[in-house]
């Protein structure tokens, strides 16, 4: 099957693997805790924005409540490991499944709506309900006081490497876990795009009425991608919980998370495999770098965002592709 995304399939896969290798080499150069912390957040948000890109960038369904699935995964995994004494290595998958289940349940009413603004507002309202419920279930979640005492990932012994320990002072292990999660999620996106499933999603994005008239089962495709994307968000939420070790309704379920996801995806390139990751690094590292500008920091940041969105509406990832396309035009896809 021929798709613009995979006319250069090796290209994308190659860049993905090369990036993962580069990330893996970082701790050999520096293990400075603050730098690693920034990189961990960038990769975490890159993966989270990639999971949202699956629904929005490829299936064309603009949801604004992705934080609900992230937060549910975070609280779910934290509470399961605390109350049931289970290893976070287990509870993170269970939390992902919980998020997927919630995603499937709410997708049924939401995906019947075809108007983009309505879907956005309904999913946002849903996420706000989840946040408010979380902050009021004080017996369970401690509400606005925050849930603390979350166990970090269980340490283990890796042959050849030795003890792999997870605590605040040992960010290296977390760094490698988040690289793995990021690679799994972006890799899954890559694989989905090349599959029949991804082809159907792209058809739905471009025209739902044409897609269904040509035999695409809209509800099945939209529900599946919604559930899968919620699953990925839930796992990332769980990682976040066992990394920061304290959760509040606004830090894990707040609308800020969604705004970050949208900004990163738009800046990096919506519907581009590596767009969300590029956006996540630019925003996370850029904000740190701008600290040098003191009080002008947020102003410069805002202006840069506006400029990028205005002059590169397809995102930073489109620059390179636009350049390469010049050499490939005229070729008939086979």
């Amino acid at each position: 099957m021929t798709t613009p995304e995979n006319q250069k399939p090796l290209n994308n896969l190659f860049i993905l693997i090369a990036l993962a290798v580069v990330f893996c080499l970082v701790p050999l150069v520096t293990q400075e805790a603050y730098f690693l912390h920034i990189c961990i957040l960038a990769l975490l948000f890159g993966a989270l924005a990639s999971s949202w890109n699956l629904i929005n960038g490829y299936a064309g369904i603009f949801t604004f409540g992705h934080q609900a699935f992230f937060g549910l995964g975070a609280y779910g995994s934290a509470l399961m490991s605390m109350r049931l004494g289970l290893s976070p290595w287990l509870t993170m998958w269970a939390a992902g499944l919980m998020s997927a289940a919630l995603g499937l349940v709410i997708s049924l009413p939401v995906l019947r709506i075809r108007s983009i603004p309505h879907i956005a507002i309904v999913t946002l309202a849903f996420a706000e309900i989840v946040r408010i419920v979380c902050s009021n279930l004080t017996d369970f979640t401690r509400g606005e006081l925050g849930l603390w005492g979350i166990p970090p990932f269980t340490s283990f012994l890796l042959p050849l490497v030795g003890d792999v320990t997870f605590d605040a002072a040992h960010k290296v292990a977390y760094f490698y876990v988040v690289i793995l999660l990021w690679l799994l999620i972006v890799g899954a996106t890559y694989w989905i795009l090349r599959s029949r499933f991804g082809f159907g999603l792209r058809a739905i994005r471009d025209s739902q009425i044409a897609a269904e008239s040509l035999g695409v089962h809209l509800t099945r495709y939209k529900t599946l991608v919604f559930g899968f994307s919620s699953f990925l968000a839930g796992i990332l939420g769980a990682f976040y919980a066992h990394y920061v070790l304290i959760l509040t309704p606004s830090s894990a379920l707040g609308i800020d998370i969604m705004i970050q996801i949208v900004a990163m995806t738009l800046i990096g390139g919506i519907g581009r495999l590596l767009g969300p990751t590029i956006g996540a690094f630019i925003l996370t590292l850029g904000l740190e770098w701008l600290r040098g500008f003191g009080e002008y920091r947020m102003l410069i940041y805002g202006v840069l965002l506006v400029l990028i969105v205005m002059f590169l509406p397809k995102g930073l990832a489109s620059m390179r592709l636009g350049f390469l396309r010049r050499q490939t035009t005229g070729k008939i896809p086979t």
Binding site: G200, R202, A203, S207, S213, L214
Partner: protein, 248 residues
Amino acid sequence: MSMISNPLLETKNVGKTFGGVIALKDVSFSVSEGEILGLIGPNGAGKTTLFHVIAGKEQPTSGTIEFRGRGITALRPDQRCHLGVARTFQIPQPFSQMTVFENVMVALHFGAGVHARSLEDEATDILSRVGLNRWASEESVSLPLGARKKLELARALATRPTLLLLDEVMGGLRPNEITEIMETIRQVRASGVTIIMIEHVMRAVMGLADRIIVLHHGELIAEGSPAEITRNEAVIEAYLGGSAHVSA
């Protein structure tokens, strides 16, 4: 004649209202296998709505639709597509971020329900039948209107239909292109496909259709051969001074 043989498609007392607007009222007609049925009527008559109801994009407010003797009123559009009902859209709906070739591949993969390497040859073949092969690798967003109409036809053909609903596919085409597409439609019918065509280009519908039905204010007001329709008083009245169009 066509009423006696088993109809491929039959609508029974189909009605459709949008709020207060009556788009279709008590529409009953049938198409026989292998037939080309013309569907004409002034703008706003309800022709496109009738296609929506047959293909499942809209649910009728009343009445039923039968395909091969089986009620399909409750089926989704994709299910009707899999049964063999394909349609084009009057306002083209290309998958704009895909190439023309990929647009056809979507229909082959999901509509015809087959997935093999050989599909690529079939897609190429369909594109050349509608005269779009030189556009194959263009992103469909860059197509002019005429080519978009042809792409609608190509995708519908790629679902391997038994019943093809064509909603003004000639609109925006040049005279020589109209002649080409008329030839394509003849070939499609010769391959065993039944066709209902909504068309304002009278040369095309009069030249192709075996039988014509006329819709006016949501109601069927006439049925007959092209020659009969051009002489029908009610039809000429419906077009109100547009009789030149009908007899063209």
